[in-house]
């Protein structure tokens, strides 16, 4: 599969918009490249793909893509994407959101998109704070962490986004980090191919705000942290359910084959046409 991608992924990138707006050391560029490579590996024609973005640093990703795109409002991308997918089921709809976008302001839409099991692929870049607006606290910021609005330490707990998506009924739930590029690419391909709601969390550094305020070091050191503090789902400790505190569990976390919204709605339509005939 990967060999197929070759340089074809460049076809999905809007080169004239480069260089991108993201800070040096930001993880967003890695996710963008993996996404383009996944599209290329799956051989998806640009016109069949719609990228729906929310508002935030990662939400600017649509500016660098040559697919169809809809850049929406803060937190609502999943709801826009739902309309697109239901209206034209043959489209491949990718929803790119930051953690603040998807889980804080948009948490309700996340729960319901997963419950409805709409055939979308959500790619959430979790950098534990609001990058675009200056590094404020987010719903994924861990307790005690310093952000521009929790200068004395975050009094709240952070969400585990994957557990939410799983509990709400997503057909595929997975996590990677921007250090684990081959895994990230594979999960993107699987998420896009999977019917129903796919949820992919990508843990990523924001050296400019989160890294700096929490003294996590240089971008390279933040990457090393992602490498050393990640644990694959197949690792013995993970299998035993013993993920040490502070470690990031990566890989496919949940998978099911529940009917997606449109498959279930087909039955509604059949009942409606049956009723029409009886009339």
């Amino acid at each position: 599969m990967r060999a197929l991608a070759g340089n074809a992924w460049w076809e999905y990138i809007k080169k004239e918009m480069l260089p991108h707006m993201w800070c040096p050391g930001c993880g967003n560029g890695i996710v963008l490249r993996c996404l383009a490579r996944a599209l290329a590996a799956l051989g998806l024609p640009r016109h069949r793909v719609v990228v729906v973005t929310g508002i935030g640093c990662w939400g600017k990703a649509d500016d660098y893509l040559r697919t169809n795109a809809l850049h929406t409002t803060h937190g609502r991308a999943l709801a826009f994407a739902t309309g697109i997918k239901l209206a034209r089921p043959e489209l491949v709809v990718l929803v790119l959101m930051g953690d603040g976008d998807c889980a804080t302001i948009g948490g309700n839409h996340l729960i319901h998109a997963a419950r409805r099991n709409v055939d979308l692929t959500a790619v959430v870049v979790n950098n534990f704070n609001y990058g675009m607006t200056g590094g404020q606290v987010s719903a994924t910021t861990p307790r005690g962490a310093v952000t521009s609005t929790t200068a004395l330490g975050n009094p709240e707990r952070g969400f585990d986004l994957c557990k939410i998506a799983d509990a709400a009924g997503a057909n595929l739930v997975a996590r990677a980090t921007v250090y684990h590029v081959p895994l990230l690419e594979r999960l993107l391909r699987e998420g896009i191919s999977k019917k129903g709601f796919s949820f992919l969390e990508v843990v990523s550094p924001c050296p400019t705000h989160y890294g700096r305020r929490n003294r996590l070091g240089t971008p390279a050191e933040m990457m090393r942290y992602l490498k050393e503090r990640s644990l694959g789902v197949h690792a013995p400790a993970a299998r035993r359910g013993e993920v040490p505190e502070g470690y990031i569990l990566i890989g496919k976390l949940a998978e099911r084959d529940e009917p997606d919204f449109l498959a279930a709605y087909e039955q509604v339509r059949q009942r409606a046409s049956g009723r029409g005939e009886r009339k």
């Binding site: 719609v50 169809n68 739902t82 309309g83 043959e90 309700n108 919204f261």
Partner: protein, 382 residues
Amino acid sequence: MERSKRLFMQGNEAIAEGAIAAGARFYAGYPITPSSEIAEVCSRRLPEVGGIFVQMEDEIASIAAVIGASLAGVKAFTATSGPGFSLMQENIGLAVMGEVPCVVVNVQRSGPSTGLATKVAQADVMQARWGRHGDQLLIALSPASVQECFELTVAAFNLAERFRVPVVLLADEIVAHLREVVELPPAEKLPIVARRYPLCPPDEYLPFRPGADGVPPLAAFGSEYVFHITSSMHGEDGFSNNDPANAARKIARLFTKITSHREEVVQVKGYGCDGTLDILLVTFGCTVRPARAAAARAGKLKVGVLQLVTLWPFPDREVKLLARRAKAVVVAELNYGQVVCEVERVVGGERPVYGLHKYNGEGFTPGEIAARLEEVAGLCGL
């Protein structure tokens, strides 16, 4: 050839049927009194005609899904009332900015906030026009009968497609819950405006390059035209653009694409408005009926009733010209004073303008309006 059908219908049902007749095949909404029947009818009717009904988690999501469906090439709408209309505002702004055709039905109820949840009001007129941040214009229509609920819903979809703009159907609890006989024209007699798709080669398509009329053709996601829509300020290519000259051009066009075709948009109906008048009675929606009844019993006072079918853009010229033929103007509306401000602005002191405002959750009786007409006649020595 099919003949028109006469049916006994509720206003909300007529809105749902009007939407389907206009070609709507997607409804996303969240239940709220007094609009819920529209959702209920759509949940049964849309799957019958190959469409989709989805009850979303809130009104923010509802309008978002509608915009998404429209960009995928399917005529789409939602219906709500005050609290839900408030929640929709940010994304209606996106539909204005992204120039996405869609229809939002607001069956007005008494506010503010939860207010008198089951009672009537006409107090969202200014919200429909100004409820969002930023400079912008959209179209709002207001039905006064069940027949108009049907007809204006069709018109709303046509205008939305014609001008690539969200159209608000500003109904009210009385009209929406009224039941009366409507005449539904056969499909071939119904004027339906189809979306203007681009004709250029796909790699030349710019989703915001206006045609000669100021309106850019709109492709559908999934067609051979690949395109980009954003809520941010953008250039003709649909990508972010910070150039001040571009921003000024875009904002101005959001207005002029509609105002330069005002004859296609602005609709009023006059009842007894010929010749000179003692009083011009301006009103809209559910207040039209009691206003006409009051005018009919005004004795030797000559009262013409002007129904504002289009509320936005405001029928400036129509109001101004008719006001000149009257000695005084009265504006009757179920709010503390909204349309009356527009009428005062338009009449510009040429004639005295009086309001008649009711905001207790009840509609007007003809007697109440007749009493105000007499009072104004007295004040003006008519």
